[in-house]
Subunit: 230 residues, 2 copies
Protein backbone atom coordinates (compact mmCIF):
# COMPACT_ATOMS: atom_id res chain seq x y z
CA UNK A 1 0.00 0.00 0.00
CA UNK A 2 1.64 3.22 -1.16
CA UNK A 3 2.35 5.62 1.71
CA UNK A 4 3.16 9.29 1.44
CA UNK A 5 3.79 12.31 3.64
CA UNK A 6 2.47 15.67 2.46
CA UNK A 7 3.99 18.67 4.20
CA UNK A 8 2.07 21.94 3.81
CA UNK A 9 -1.64 21.84 3.09
CA UNK A 10 -2.07 24.87 0.83
CA UNK A 11 -4.07 24.39 -2.36
CA UNK A 12 -1.40 22.17 -3.89
CA UNK A 13 -0.70 20.07 -0.79
CA UNK A 14 -4.39 19.65 -0.04
CA UNK A 15 -5.17 18.58 -3.62
CA UNK A 16 -2.28 16.08 -3.55
CA UNK A 17 -3.57 14.66 -0.24
CA UNK A 18 -7.16 14.41 -1.46
CA UNK A 19 -6.20 12.77 -4.78
CA UNK A 20 -3.80 10.30 -3.17
CA UNK A 21 -6.52 9.23 -0.72
CA UNK A 22 -9.02 8.83 -3.59
CA UNK A 23 -6.50 6.54 -5.29
CA UNK A 24 -6.20 4.33 -2.21
CA UNK A 25 -2.85 5.51 -0.90
CA UNK A 26 -2.07 6.22 2.78
CA UNK A 27 -1.18 9.80 3.60
CA UNK A 28 0.39 11.58 6.58
CA UNK A 29 -0.74 15.21 6.23
CA UNK A 30 1.30 17.84 8.06
CA UNK A 31 0.77 21.55 8.65
CA UNK A 32 1.71 24.21 11.20
CA UNK A 33 -1.72 25.82 10.89
CA UNK A 34 -4.29 24.12 13.16
CA UNK A 35 -7.16 25.14 10.90
CA UNK A 36 -5.57 23.37 7.93
CA UNK A 37 -4.96 20.27 10.04
CA UNK A 38 -8.61 20.24 11.14
CA UNK A 39 -9.76 20.55 7.52
CA UNK A 40 -7.49 17.65 6.53
CA UNK A 41 -8.92 15.42 9.29
CA UNK A 42 -12.10 15.06 7.25
CA UNK A 43 -10.21 13.18 4.53
CA UNK A 44 -7.10 11.75 6.23
CA UNK A 45 -6.69 9.68 9.41
CA UNK A 46 -3.12 10.92 9.97
CA UNK A 47 -3.34 14.75 10.05
CA UNK A 48 -0.56 16.16 12.22
CA UNK A 49 -0.21 19.65 13.63
CA UNK A 50 3.52 20.41 13.72
CA UNK A 51 6.37 22.56 12.46
CA UNK A 52 8.03 20.66 9.62
CA UNK A 53 11.44 22.15 10.46
CA UNK A 54 11.40 20.16 13.72
CA UNK A 55 13.43 17.04 13.01
CA UNK A 56 12.17 15.11 16.04
CA UNK A 57 8.56 15.84 15.16
CA UNK A 58 9.19 14.66 11.58
CA UNK A 59 10.72 11.45 12.89
CA UNK A 60 7.85 10.86 15.34
CA UNK A 61 5.35 11.42 12.54
CA UNK A 62 7.00 8.56 10.64
CA UNK A 63 8.08 10.71 7.72
CA UNK A 64 11.26 8.65 7.23
CA UNK A 65 9.09 5.56 6.59
CA UNK A 66 7.09 6.65 3.58
CA UNK A 67 7.53 5.94 -0.15
CA UNK A 68 7.85 9.64 -0.97
CA UNK A 69 7.43 13.05 0.63
CA UNK A 70 5.61 15.90 -1.09
CA UNK A 71 6.55 19.43 -0.02
CA UNK A 72 3.64 21.77 -0.55
CA UNK A 73 5.26 24.93 0.77
CA UNK A 74 5.97 27.14 -2.22
CA UNK A 75 5.55 30.53 -0.62
CA UNK A 76 8.13 30.19 2.14
CA UNK A 77 11.46 29.35 0.51
CA UNK A 78 13.47 29.18 3.71
CA UNK A 79 11.10 26.70 5.36
CA UNK A 80 10.98 24.66 2.15
CA UNK A 81 14.78 24.53 1.79
CA UNK A 82 15.46 23.84 5.47
CA UNK A 83 12.88 21.05 5.54
CA UNK A 84 14.34 19.42 2.43
CA UNK A 85 17.79 19.58 4.04
CA UNK A 86 16.43 17.85 7.14
CA UNK A 87 14.58 15.22 5.10
CA UNK A 88 17.73 14.41 3.10
CA UNK A 89 19.71 14.16 6.36
CA UNK A 90 17.04 11.71 7.63
CA UNK A 91 17.65 9.60 4.53
CA UNK A 92 14.42 10.40 2.67
CA UNK A 93 15.16 9.47 -0.93
CA UNK A 94 12.10 10.61 -2.88
CA UNK A 95 11.03 14.20 -2.40
CA UNK A 96 8.70 16.15 -4.71
CA UNK A 97 8.54 19.85 -3.99
CA UNK A 98 6.40 22.76 -5.06
CA UNK A 99 8.54 25.80 -5.87
CA UNK A 100 7.71 29.36 -6.75
CA UNK A 101 10.76 30.44 -8.75
CA UNK A 102 13.48 29.03 -11.01
CA UNK A 103 16.06 29.73 -8.31
CA UNK A 104 14.03 27.84 -5.69
CA UNK A 105 13.80 24.95 -8.16
CA UNK A 106 17.55 24.90 -8.85
CA UNK A 107 18.42 24.93 -5.16
CA UNK A 108 16.13 22.01 -4.36
CA UNK A 109 17.31 20.02 -7.37
CA UNK A 110 20.94 20.37 -6.28
CA UNK A 111 19.85 19.16 -2.84
CA UNK A 112 18.51 15.98 -4.38
CA UNK A 113 14.78 16.68 -4.74
CA UNK A 114 13.49 14.22 -7.35
CA UNK A 115 11.11 16.62 -9.04
CA UNK A 116 10.28 20.28 -8.55
CA UNK A 117 6.83 21.51 -9.46
CA UNK A 118 6.07 25.10 -10.47
CA UNK A 119 2.29 25.04 -11.10
CA UNK A 120 1.82 28.69 -12.11
CA UNK A 121 4.61 28.48 -14.69
CA UNK A 122 3.57 25.08 -16.05
CA UNK A 123 -0.08 26.08 -16.41
CA UNK A 124 0.78 29.65 -17.49
CA UNK A 125 2.65 28.28 -20.50
CA UNK A 126 -0.21 25.93 -21.39
CA UNK A 127 -2.80 28.68 -21.19
CA UNK A 128 -0.69 31.12 -23.23
CA UNK A 129 -0.38 28.45 -25.94
CA UNK A 130 -4.15 28.04 -25.95
CA UNK A 131 -4.66 31.79 -26.16
CA UNK A 132 -2.57 32.45 -29.26
CA UNK A 133 -4.25 29.67 -31.09
CA UNK A 134 -7.90 30.27 -30.48
CA UNK A 135 -8.85 27.01 -32.04
CA UNK A 136 -6.81 25.02 -29.54
CA UNK A 137 -8.89 23.52 -26.74
CA UNK A 138 -6.17 21.54 -25.05
CA UNK A 139 -2.41 21.57 -25.25
CA UNK A 140 0.28 19.35 -23.85
CA UNK A 141 4.00 19.10 -24.29
CA UNK A 142 4.95 15.46 -24.95
CA UNK A 143 8.69 16.16 -25.18
CA UNK A 144 10.67 19.31 -25.85
CA UNK A 145 9.98 19.01 -29.59
CA UNK A 146 6.57 17.36 -29.69
CA UNK A 147 3.07 18.37 -28.64
CA UNK A 148 -0.46 17.12 -28.47
CA UNK A 149 -3.24 19.61 -29.25
CA UNK A 150 -7.01 19.38 -29.38
CA UNK A 151 -8.57 21.42 -32.18
CA UNK A 152 -11.89 21.82 -33.95
CA UNK A 153 -11.90 19.79 -37.15
CA UNK A 154 -10.66 22.21 -39.86
CA UNK A 155 -13.19 22.91 -42.66
CA UNK A 156 -11.13 21.11 -45.25
CA UNK A 157 -11.14 17.91 -43.13
CA UNK A 158 -14.92 17.75 -42.64
CA UNK A 159 -16.78 14.96 -44.36
CA UNK A 160 -13.56 13.03 -45.02
CA UNK A 161 -12.48 9.70 -43.53
CA UNK A 162 -9.10 9.28 -41.81
CA UNK A 163 -8.06 7.01 -44.67
CA UNK A 164 -8.83 9.75 -47.24
CA UNK A 165 -7.13 12.42 -45.14
CA UNK A 166 -3.95 10.36 -44.77
CA UNK A 167 -2.63 12.90 -42.24
CA UNK A 168 0.46 10.92 -41.35
CA UNK A 169 1.84 11.18 -44.84
CA UNK A 170 0.40 14.56 -45.77
CA UNK A 171 1.03 16.44 -42.51
CA UNK A 172 3.37 14.19 -40.47
CA UNK A 173 0.96 14.19 -37.54
CA UNK A 174 -1.36 11.55 -36.21
CA UNK A 175 -4.96 11.86 -35.06
CA UNK A 176 -5.11 9.99 -31.77
CA UNK A 177 -8.70 10.69 -30.75
CA UNK A 178 -11.95 12.19 -32.06
CA UNK A 179 -14.45 14.00 -29.80
CA UNK A 180 -17.94 14.05 -31.26
CA UNK A 181 -21.41 15.04 -30.12
CA UNK A 182 -23.98 12.32 -29.56
CA UNK A 183 -27.69 13.02 -29.28
CA UNK A 184 -28.98 11.05 -26.32
CA UNK A 185 -31.59 11.08 -23.54
CA UNK A 186 -30.68 11.92 -19.94
CA UNK A 187 -32.14 10.40 -16.73
CA UNK A 188 -35.14 12.77 -16.82
CA UNK A 189 -36.00 11.78 -20.36
CA UNK A 190 -34.70 15.10 -21.72
CA UNK A 191 -33.06 15.15 -25.15
CA UNK A 192 -29.49 16.21 -24.60
CA UNK A 193 -26.27 16.30 -26.53
CA UNK A 194 -23.36 14.51 -24.92
CA UNK A 195 -19.69 14.72 -25.92
CA UNK A 196 -18.06 11.34 -26.53
CA UNK A 197 -14.39 10.53 -27.09
CA UNK A 198 -13.23 7.87 -29.53
CA UNK A 199 -9.66 6.96 -28.53
CA UNK A 200 -9.35 4.15 -31.05
CA UNK A 201 -10.17 5.99 -34.29
CA UNK A 202 -10.28 3.74 -37.34
CA UNK A 203 -9.36 4.52 -40.94
CA UNK A 204 -13.03 4.61 -41.96
CA UNK A 205 -14.13 7.11 -39.28
CA UNK A 206 -15.39 10.29 -40.94
CA UNK A 207 -14.71 13.70 -39.35
CA UNK A 208 -17.80 15.88 -39.01
CA UNK A 209 -18.10 19.65 -38.68
CA UNK A 210 -18.04 20.48 -34.97
CA UNK A 211 -15.98 17.44 -34.00
CA UNK A 212 -12.70 17.99 -32.22
CA UNK A 213 -9.56 16.01 -32.96
CA UNK A 214 -6.54 15.35 -30.75
CA UNK A 215 -3.39 15.42 -32.86
CA UNK A 216 0.19 14.55 -32.03
CA UNK A 217 3.34 15.54 -33.83
CA UNK A 218 6.52 17.60 -33.90
CA UNK A 219 5.81 21.16 -32.72
CA UNK A 220 6.69 22.55 -36.16
CA UNK A 221 4.33 20.15 -37.95
CA UNK A 222 1.50 20.73 -35.48
CA UNK A 223 1.94 24.52 -35.65
CA UNK A 224 1.93 24.36 -39.42
CA UNK A 225 -1.39 22.51 -39.48
CA UNK A 226 -2.99 24.55 -36.70
CA UNK A 227 -1.68 27.79 -38.17
CA UNK A 228 -3.47 27.12 -41.43
CA UNK A 229 -6.80 26.48 -39.71
CA UNK A 230 -7.09 29.98 -38.21
Amino acid sequence: MAKFAVIGLGNFGYTITETLIQKGAEVIAIDIDEKKVEEAKSIVTDAIHMDCTDENALHNAGVDNVDAVVMGIGGNKEVSILTVAILRKMGVAKIYAKVDSELHSRILKIMGVKRTIFPEQYVGREIANLLVSQHIFNYMEISKDHTMVEILVPDYFTGKSLRELDVRNKYHISIIAIKYKKATVDEDGENIVKEETNVLPSADDVLQKGDKILIVGKKSDVNQLVGTTQ
Copy 2:
Protein backbone atom coordinates in the same frame (compact mmCIF):
# COMPACT_ATOMS: atom_id res chain seq x y z
CA MET B 1 -1.81 40.23 -34.64
CA ALA B 2 -3.24 38.79 -31.43
CA LYS B 3 -3.41 41.33 -28.61
CA PHE B 4 -3.89 40.59 -24.93
CA ALA B 5 -3.99 42.37 -21.59
CA VAL B 6 -2.50 40.58 -18.59
CA ILE B 7 -3.53 41.99 -15.22
CA GLY B 8 -1.37 40.94 -12.28
CA LEU B 9 2.23 39.89 -12.88
CA GLY B 10 2.69 37.17 -10.26
CA ASN B 11 4.27 33.91 -11.40
CA PHE B 12 1.24 32.99 -13.50
CA GLY B 13 0.70 36.42 -15.07
CA TYR B 14 4.39 36.87 -15.77
CA THR B 15 4.67 33.45 -17.42
CA ILE B 16 1.58 34.17 -19.55
CA THR B 17 3.08 37.50 -20.62
CA GLU B 18 6.47 35.99 -21.42
CA THR B 19 5.01 33.08 -23.40
CA LEU B 20 2.58 35.26 -25.36
CA ILE B 21 5.44 37.57 -26.37
CA GLN B 22 7.55 34.57 -27.42
CA LYS B 23 4.66 33.47 -29.64
CA GLY B 24 4.50 36.85 -31.36
CA ALA B 25 1.44 38.31 -29.63
CA GLU B 26 1.13 41.89 -28.34
CA VAL B 27 0.69 42.23 -24.60
CA ILE B 28 -0.37 45.06 -22.28
CA ALA B 29 1.05 44.05 -18.87
CA ILE B 30 -0.53 45.65 -15.80
CA ASP B 31 0.42 45.63 -12.12
CA ILE B 32 0.00 47.83 -9.04
CA ASP B 33 3.52 46.96 -7.88
CA GLU B 34 6.15 49.19 -9.51
CA LYS B 35 8.83 46.55 -9.14
CA LYS B 36 6.76 44.04 -11.11
CA VAL B 37 6.10 46.66 -13.81
CA GLU B 38 9.83 47.39 -14.09
CA GLU B 39 10.61 43.67 -14.40
CA ALA B 40 8.00 43.34 -17.15
CA LYS B 41 9.49 46.27 -19.13
CA SER B 42 12.39 44.01 -20.11
CA ILE B 43 10.05 41.80 -22.13
CA VAL B 44 7.00 43.97 -22.97
CA THR B 45 6.76 47.45 -24.51
CA ASP B 46 3.42 48.15 -22.82
CA ALA B 47 3.99 47.64 -19.06
CA ILE B 48 1.63 49.83 -17.07
CA HIS B 49 1.75 50.74 -13.40
CA MET B 50 -1.87 51.06 -12.24
CA ASP B 51 -4.62 49.75 -9.98
CA CYS B 52 -6.75 47.41 -12.08
CA THR B 53 -9.90 48.32 -10.11
CA ASP B 54 -9.68 51.82 -11.63
CA GLU B 55 -12.08 51.79 -14.59
CA ASN B 56 -10.66 54.94 -16.20
CA ALA B 57 -7.12 53.63 -15.99
CA LEU B 58 -8.25 50.33 -17.58
CA HIS B 59 -9.91 52.25 -20.41
CA ASN B 60 -6.86 54.49 -20.96
CA ALA B 61 -4.65 51.40 -21.04
CA GLY B 62 -6.74 50.12 -23.96
CA VAL B 63 -7.93 47.02 -22.13
CA ASP B 64 -11.32 47.15 -23.89
CA ASN B 65 -9.54 46.79 -27.25
CA VAL B 66 -7.79 43.46 -26.81
CA ASP B 67 -8.70 39.95 -27.98
CA ALA B 68 -8.76 38.62 -24.42
CA VAL B 69 -7.85 39.65 -20.88
CA VAL B 70 -5.97 37.34 -18.52
CA MET B 71 -6.46 37.97 -14.80
CA GLY B 72 -3.40 36.82 -12.88
CA ILE B 73 -4.58 37.80 -9.40
CA GLY B 74 -5.42 34.60 -7.57
CA GLY B 75 -4.50 35.60 -4.06
CA ASN B 76 -6.77 38.63 -3.72
CA LYS B 77 -10.32 37.45 -4.43
CA GLU B 78 -11.99 40.82 -3.92
CA VAL B 79 -9.68 42.58 -6.39
CA SER B 80 -10.11 39.73 -8.86
CA ILE B 81 -13.92 39.74 -8.62
CA LEU B 82 -14.25 43.55 -8.72
CA THR B 83 -11.95 43.80 -11.73
CA VAL B 84 -13.89 41.10 -13.62
CA ALA B 85 -17.13 42.98 -12.86
CA ILE B 86 -15.60 46.17 -14.29
CA LEU B 87 -14.22 44.38 -17.37
CA ARG B 88 -17.63 42.83 -18.08
CA LYS B 89 -19.26 46.26 -17.67
CA MET B 90 -16.72 47.64 -20.18
CA GLY B 91 -17.86 44.96 -22.63
CA VAL B 92 -14.79 42.71 -22.46
CA ALA B 93 -16.00 39.37 -23.80
CA LYS B 94 -13.08 36.99 -23.28
CA ILE B 95 -11.63 36.82 -19.79
CA TYR B 96 -9.41 34.04 -18.45
CA ALA B 97 -8.82 34.19 -14.72
CA LYS B 98 -6.53 32.50 -12.23
CA VAL B 99 -8.46 31.45 -9.11
CA ASP B 100 -7.41 29.95 -5.83
CA SER B 101 -10.54 28.12 -4.72
CA GLU B 102 -13.60 26.36 -6.13
CA LEU B 103 -15.81 29.17 -4.77
CA HIS B 104 -13.69 31.82 -6.50
CA SER B 105 -14.00 29.80 -9.71
CA ARG B 106 -17.80 29.48 -9.45
CA ILE B 107 -18.25 33.19 -8.81
CA LEU B 108 -16.16 34.21 -11.82
CA LYS B 109 -17.84 31.65 -14.07
CA ILE B 110 -21.28 33.02 -13.18
CA MET B 111 -19.94 36.49 -14.01
CA GLY B 112 -19.08 35.32 -17.51
CA VAL B 113 -15.36 34.50 -17.27
CA LYS B 114 -14.60 32.19 -20.21
CA ARG B 115 -12.21 29.95 -18.32
CA THR B 116 -11.00 29.81 -14.73
CA ILE B 117 -7.58 28.39 -14.02
CA PHE B 118 -6.60 26.79 -10.71
CA PRO B 119 -2.94 25.82 -11.28
CA GLU B 120 -2.23 24.24 -7.87
CA GLN B 121 -5.30 21.99 -8.14
CA TYR B 122 -4.73 21.07 -11.79
CA VAL B 123 -1.06 20.22 -11.25
CA GLY B 124 -1.71 18.70 -7.80
CA ARG B 125 -4.02 16.11 -9.37
CA GLU B 126 -1.51 15.33 -12.12
CA ILE B 127 1.35 14.86 -9.66
CA ALA B 128 -0.74 12.68 -7.31
CA ASN B 129 -1.60 10.46 -10.28
CA LEU B 130 2.09 10.15 -11.10
CA LEU B 131 2.93 9.34 -7.48
CA VAL B 132 0.58 6.39 -7.03
CA SER B 133 1.76 4.84 -10.21
CA GLN B 134 5.48 5.01 -9.96
CA HIS B 135 5.92 3.89 -13.50
CA ILE B 136 3.96 6.84 -14.87
CA PHE B 137 6.18 9.64 -16.18
CA ASN B 138 3.48 11.86 -17.59
CA TYR B 139 -0.27 12.02 -17.18
CA MET B 140 -2.97 13.97 -18.89
CA GLU B 141 -6.73 13.93 -18.81
CA ILE B 142 -8.08 13.93 -22.36
CA SER B 143 -11.73 13.94 -21.31
CA LYS B 144 -13.48 12.97 -18.08
CA ASP B 145 -13.24 9.27 -18.99
CA HIS B 146 -10.02 9.10 -20.98
CA THR B 147 -6.35 9.67 -20.22
CA MET B 148 -2.94 9.68 -21.81
CA VAL B 149 -0.07 8.29 -19.76
CA GLU B 150 3.63 7.83 -20.42
CA ILE B 151 5.08 4.64 -18.97
CA LEU B 152 8.19 2.52 -19.19
CA VAL B 153 7.66 -0.33 -21.64
CA PRO B 154 6.37 -3.24 -19.51
CA ASP B 155 8.63 -6.33 -19.48
CA TYR B 156 6.14 -8.43 -21.40
CA PHE B 157 6.10 -5.85 -24.24
CA THR B 158 9.85 -5.69 -24.74
CA GLY B 159 11.25 -7.14 -27.93
CA LYS B 160 7.81 -7.18 -29.58
CA SER B 161 6.60 -5.14 -32.53
CA LEU B 162 3.41 -3.06 -32.35
CA ARG B 163 1.87 -5.43 -34.87
CA GLU B 164 2.60 -8.42 -32.60
CA LEU B 165 1.39 -6.62 -29.49
CA ASP B 166 -1.93 -5.66 -31.15
CA VAL B 167 -2.72 -3.43 -28.14
CA ARG B 168 -5.87 -1.95 -29.65
CA ASN B 169 -7.59 -5.30 -29.71
CA LYS B 170 -5.93 -6.85 -26.67
CA TYR B 171 -6.02 -3.88 -24.28
CA HIS B 172 -8.33 -1.31 -25.96
CA ILE B 173 -5.62 1.34 -25.81
CA SER B 174 -3.42 2.83 -28.47
CA ILE B 175 0.31 3.58 -28.40
CA ILE B 176 0.62 7.08 -29.80
CA ALA B 177 4.36 7.64 -29.36
CA ILE B 178 7.57 5.84 -28.42
CA LYS B 179 10.45 7.55 -26.59
CA TYR B 180 13.75 5.78 -27.12
CA LYS B 181 17.42 6.44 -26.34
CA LYS B 182 19.78 7.16 -29.20
CA ALA B 183 23.55 7.01 -28.88
CA THR B 184 24.99 10.09 -30.52
CA VAL B 185 27.85 12.59 -30.35
CA ASP B 186 27.42 16.09 -28.89
CA GLU B 187 29.08 19.35 -30.06
CA ASP B 188 32.25 18.60 -28.06
CA GLY B 189 32.62 15.19 -29.67
CA GLU B 190 31.50 13.46 -26.46
CA ASN B 191 29.51 10.24 -26.73
CA ILE B 192 26.11 10.95 -25.25
CA VAL B 193 22.71 9.32 -25.10
CA LYS B 194 19.84 11.45 -26.34
CA GLU B 195 16.13 10.78 -25.88
CA GLU B 196 14.14 10.83 -29.13
CA THR B 197 10.37 10.75 -29.61
CA ASN B 198 8.70 8.85 -32.45
CA VAL B 199 5.19 10.30 -32.82
CA LEU B 200 4.35 8.27 -35.91
CA PRO B 201 4.98 4.73 -34.64
CA SER B 202 4.55 2.07 -37.30
CA ALA B 203 3.33 -1.50 -36.92
CA ASP B 204 6.85 -2.86 -37.37
CA ASP B 205 8.46 -0.72 -34.67
CA VAL B 206 9.82 -2.96 -31.91
CA LEU B 207 9.64 -1.82 -28.25
CA GLN B 208 12.94 -2.11 -26.37
CA LYS B 209 13.62 -2.38 -22.65
CA GLY B 210 14.04 1.14 -21.31
CA ASP B 211 11.83 2.75 -23.95
CA LYS B 212 8.82 4.73 -22.81
CA ILE B 213 5.45 4.59 -24.54
CA LEU B 214 2.64 7.15 -24.54
CA ILE B 215 -0.68 5.35 -24.42
CA VAL B 216 -4.23 6.64 -24.77
CA GLY B 217 -7.45 5.00 -23.70
CA LYS B 218 -10.41 4.92 -21.34
CA LYS B 219 -9.26 5.47 -17.75
CA SER B 220 -10.37 1.96 -16.77
CA ASP B 221 -8.45 0.35 -19.64
CA VAL B 222 -5.32 2.42 -19.01
CA ASN B 223 -5.43 1.72 -15.27
CA GLN B 224 -5.84 -1.97 -15.97
CA LEU B 225 -2.74 -2.04 -18.14
CA VAL B 226 -0.67 0.24 -15.91
CA GLY B 227 -1.84 -1.58 -12.80
CA THR B 228 -0.48 -4.85 -14.11
CA THR B 229 2.94 -3.36 -14.82
CA GLN B 230 3.68 -2.42 -11.17
